[in-house]
């Protein structure tokens, strides 16, 4: 079964550093998403991406964050100047056009900011 792949599975970074979280969505999917889940809290929407641009973003997704699809397969989330409160599990998801059933999550990257 097709999977959404995220790397790394766990990243530890120093406060103030920049991190890039990587995702490889399912190949025929057109909509891409980033969500985060702070430990013990609910999964929160960050941003959706379609047709090579951001289609929607939440209040969490401020200037510290950016997304990119640098080539035909990768979808990245960059977090600049990380803060302790950025520590969370970050999930990438993708879905194909017109098929809400096909919404698939990756296994996540656990980001720990120290």
């Amino acid at each position: 079964e097709p999977e959404v792949t995220q790397t790394p599975s766990h990243q530890v970074t120093q406060m103030g550093q920049e991190v890039i979280l990587r995702c490889v969505p399912i190949s025929n999917h057109l909509y891409f998403y980033w969500y985060r889940q702070i430990l013990g809290q609910k999964v929160e929407f960050l941003v959706s991406f379609y047709n090579n641009e951001i289609s929607e973003k939440s209040e969490i997704f401020d200037d510290q964050f950016s997304v990119e699809r640098p080539d035909g397969s990768n979808f990245t989330l960059k977090i600049r100047s990380t803060k302790l409160e950025d520590s969370a599990m970050y999930f990438c998801a993708s879905r194909e056009n017109g098929n809400i059933y096909g919404y698939t999550f990756g296994s996540g990257t656990r980001l720990t900011v120290v």
Binding site: V4, Y31, Y33, Y35, Q41, K42, V43, E44, F45, S48, Y50, S55, E56, S58, M89, F91, R95, I100, Y101, Y103, T104, F105, G106, S107, G108
Partner: protein
Amino acid sequence: EDKVVQSPLSLVVHEGDTVTLNCSYEVTNFRSLLWYKQEKKAPTFLFMLTSSGIEKKSGRLSSILDKKELFSILNITATQTGDSAVYLCAIMNYGGSQGNLIFGKGTKLSVKP
């Protein structure tokens, strides 16, 4: 503000028990309600509900939506230890979104042998 509330937040049962998990919501432009199971990492899809009163079933799991009262339930019969997980309810709405989901906090189910 859109809101999804799940109850209970946690639940401990014994194998063989039947459980009912609840999800209520207040959202604008409701499109669908989705249930996910989250074990260690990624949420995995269980059901999507769009119409009221139509039960969806998959093995021992079933779910139904009430769009008038704005809630859904997820039932698990004859629970097994493998059902232990966090069960997430999420809403997808229309409007400007491209299908982003609004999640509840989840119900943590622990099934004891």
